[in-house]
């Protein structure tokens, strides 16, 4: 009997659990996971990006399958506001319509449909960093294209710099299941477009409320003021770290005997409209990888012990924050102008014998996927005569390129594509009377070959990168490019090989600049190394190279996804600069025979010592000239800087508390109206009843006390 009772009890418990365990909240809402929201950034004069209201933007789901759907939403819909659910392929065609007629638009949910990739997708300006360009730049985003000619980023929507009146969320390919969930809900409730008013409808709520507003001046002021109740930080300046490394140490140089340097630069960061999404394959990674690999190659063919043989040095520098009005390069140019960079043995503009920037490379790699050629262009910003260093370098580089049937075409124009050269011209152009000897390497001529500039879709597919996953020996030896081609593991037409060829040409040309003689040896940049490094920056941080370049003491396991390259706020050091710096240290630094404690104690001026994991993960002591310098705009360190002057980058990023999206079925409103009417009627009835009772109290309470009677009678 007892046993049976227990059985009943268990059954009852299970039944109760089954009924009540799903909370009401969960029955109503279904959250959309894995979305990335557009957020707010501000500069000295404007706010840009998106924000929802404090409680989130709510709108009826409308699947946009063609432009007509968007037009219906804007002009003919009846149950607004709406959230437009649209894929990346249609986004460019409809976003202007939604932006211009935004009264009926609560928000946009953008998704990346693998089957419908657009031909172009860029939320950058048509003239990136237009307002931080030097005076001779001709690109104008406001004039019509026919008036001036071409713009760099033809299909740029400029959303990254515009104030968007509604929130936008982005769902990557991996989250297509969320879109099918929304689509099911849409098909069930919203499909009858003409009779939506007053019905229960599938709706989306997008929450991405931003604390900051107006401009950087206002938000920084509000962040600094400590109000009694709400000591809230509302925005932070953008910034991170620049990375630099010199071929020879510069600590022992005196003011009178300072070696001229060849400055070789590239940029680290990229951007996109959405939080945590900035793959930047062609926007920055290819240039950065070429830069690091060339630096490593040059360090192999000119040993550091040759320091006294040559009168020229090479300073490799990676700028951060370039996407937002050249934060990194503005800061370095500004610091050079005031004689404080690098901190050890600062440079003056006249010490820079040549500045070579590896600009935006990789946009045309996909175009030349089947082809062994990869035409590059060298922008030389002089109209008439140009410095000998530049022509010498160009001739040598062209020769090195032709060895591998590659071409380098010089373009003589002061209309420079977006690059750090703009910062140097603006800030140092006035400091020196000479022209700054500089040139810029890119793979486009009139307009960007990268149609996905600064976007969520600028990923490894955009440069046609396929990882080969070739193991690295425990001594850190990479297979040479020639070996890989000879044994058929790679083809001449592959991105890795082409990038290695460019890095080789650059390293060999720099060899001639430093030593004065042509390089005759056989050391060249390895496509195997390029393969690994692209994999680290584009696909997974849990890769062989970064594992070896990790701090020896680190126990953290790296994430199996690429680090977003967005510069982020200055208060937080981002991963990409650290990765690039450690790779420079590991690949171009010199291993020292020292254990961990001895390594930490080493202290020679001009060098840093890093205890890294090394190729066999047993730890290695690396001596390197690599170092970091702050990439925070001069606007934030200069006292009394006028934020509206436009002289330096003033970008800040808003603080937010939460970003989430959820789908639910919103009531048609009939139930709510009924409840309100019933409530009002009940109140009136109760009032009438009370009034009647008071008037006729004597009828109800027969034996009412005498005092009541006297009160009633007055």
């Amino acid at each position: 009997m007892d046993f049976q009772n227990i059985n009943y009890l268990v059954l009852l418990t299970i039944a109760i659990n089954a009924i009540t365990c799903e909370r009401l909240h969960e029955q109503i809402y279904s959250s959309i996971e894995g979305g990335a929201a557009c957020f707010r950034r501000l500069n000295g004069t404007h706010q840009a990006g998106c924000s929802s209201s404090l409680s989130g933007a709510v709108g009826v789901v409308h699947m946009i399958r063609n432009v007509t759907d968007a037009q219906w939403l804007v002009y003919n819909s009846s149950a607004g506001p709406y959230v437009a659910v649209v894929n990346t392929w249609l986004f460019y065609d409809i976003i202007e319509l939604l932006m211009n007629k935004s009264e009926n638009v609560a928000g946009v949910l953008l998704y990346d449909d693998a089957t419908m990739r657009p031909d172009a997708f860029s939320q950058e300006s048509r003239c990136p960093n237009e307002y931080a360009s030097w005076s001779k730049s001709q690109c104008s985003s406001t004039k019509t294209p026919s008036g001036i000619g071409l713009v760099w980023n033809e299909k740029g929507t400029d959303l990254l710099r515009r104030d968007i009146p509604f929130p936008i969320f982005f769902l990557p390919q991996a989250r297509m299941s969320e879109i099918s969930k929304i689509e099911q809900c849409y098909n069930r409730y919203n499909i009858d477009k003409d009779n939506q008013k007053g019905r229960a409808l599938c709706s989306l709520q997008l929450n991405s409320f931003m604390y900051a507003a107006v401009n950087s001046v206002v938000c920084l002021r509000r962040s600094a003021s400590s109000a009694i109740l709400t000591p809230t930080k509302v925005c932070d300046p953008l910034g991170d770290y620049n990375v630099y490394y010199s071929l020879f140490p510069r600590a022992k140089e005196t003011e009178s005997k300072k070696k001229p340097v060849t400055l070789v630069t590239a940029r680290i960061d990229a951007a996109s409209l959405f939080d945590g999404v900035a793959p930047g394959a062609a926007s920055s990674v290819v240039g950065m990888v070429s830069h690091i690999v060339a630096a490593a190659t040059l360090s192999q063919i000119i040993p550091i012990t040759d320091v006294d043989l040559y009168d020229e040095n090479v300073l490799w520098t990676l700028f951060n924050g370039e996407s937002f009005d050249y934060i990194g390069s503005q800061r370095i140019a500004y610091d050079i102008a005031r004689g404080v960079w690098p901190p050890i043995s600062p440079l003056s503009p006249k010490n820079i014998s040549l500045h070579i920037e590896l600009g935006q490379l990789g946009g045309s790699l996909k175009l030349f996927e089947e082809n062994t050629s990869w035409p590059l262009y060298a922008f030389v910003p002089y109209e008439n005569s140009f410095p000998d260093q530049v022509s010498g370098f160009l001739n040598e580089m062209e020769k090195k390129f032709s060895i591998n049937n590659m071409t380098l075409t010089p373009v003589f124009t002061t209309n420079l594509p977006p690059s750090s050269l703009h910062s140097f011209q603006r800030i140092l152009g006035n400091v020196t009377e000479n022209d700054l000897p500089e040139l810029l390497l890119v793979d486009y001529r009139d307009t960007f070959s990268n149609k996905f500039y600064q976007s969520a879709l600028d990923d490894h597919e955009n440069i046609g990168f396929a990882y080969h996953n070739i193991s690295i020996g425990s001594d850190g030896k990479f297979l040479t490019t020639d070996e890989l081609i000879a044994n058929g593991e790679m083809k001449e037409s592959e991105a890795q090989v082409k990038i290695a060829r460019v890095a080789t040409a650059l390293a060999h040309t720099l060899y001639k600049r430093v030593t004065g003689k042509s390089y005759t040896g056989s050391v060249s940049a390895s496509a195997h190394l390029v393969d690994e490094m692209l994999h680290c920056f584009l696909q997974s941080q849990a890769c062989r190279l970064l594992a070896a370049a990790e701090f020896g003491a680190s126990e953290e396991s790296a994430a199996e996804r690429a680090a977003p390259l967005y510069v982020g706020v200055a208060a937080w050091a981002g991963a990409p600069a650290g990765h690039a710096a450690h790779l420079l240290a590991l690949l171009a630094g010199a291993p020292r025979a020292a254990n961990r404690t001895a390594c930490d104690r080493l202290d020679e001026p001009g060098f840093s010592y890093y205890w890294l994991k090394g190729w066999n993960h047993s730890g290695v002591c690396i001596q390197t000239t690599m170092n970091f310098s702050q990439a925070v705009s001069p606007a934030f360190i200069k006292a009394d800087y006028d934020m509206t002057s436009g002289e330096f980058s003033t970008w800040t990023e808003s603080v937010w508390q939460a970003m989430w999206a959820r789908v639910f079925v919103s009531a048609g409103g009939g139930g709510a109206r009924l409840a309100a009417i019933a409530g009002a009627l009940a109140t009136v009835a109760a009032a009438l009843l009370t009034y009647w009772l008071q008037r006729h109290a004597a009828l109800v309470f027969r034996d009412a006390p005498a005092s009541l009677h006297s009160d009633a009678s007055g």
Partner: protein, 101 residues
Amino acid sequence: MDLNRMSDTKKLQLCRWYFKVGFVLLPFVWAVNSIWFFKEAFVRPPFEEQKQIKKYVIMSGAGAIAWAIVLISWAVAFQLQRVSWGSTGDALSFIVPLGRA
């Protein structure tokens, strides 16, 4: 306190006291005074202290109204002009507005 159970002299004392206290930047005391003693001053049949009470009630009322005009104009001006005052507007704010000008 029940005014009904109070002698007229006491009422006058109380009314005068409330009027004086109102000078310590307490316009609400004036407002209370003018409403509380309104019946005594204007509705009740005349009595000895009524004239004085009437005086205090009128002056308290005038004071309260003057204050109200000042406070309401400030509130309206602040709400309408805070944004255009810029940093002064933010400095005067007790709660810094989030996500808007």
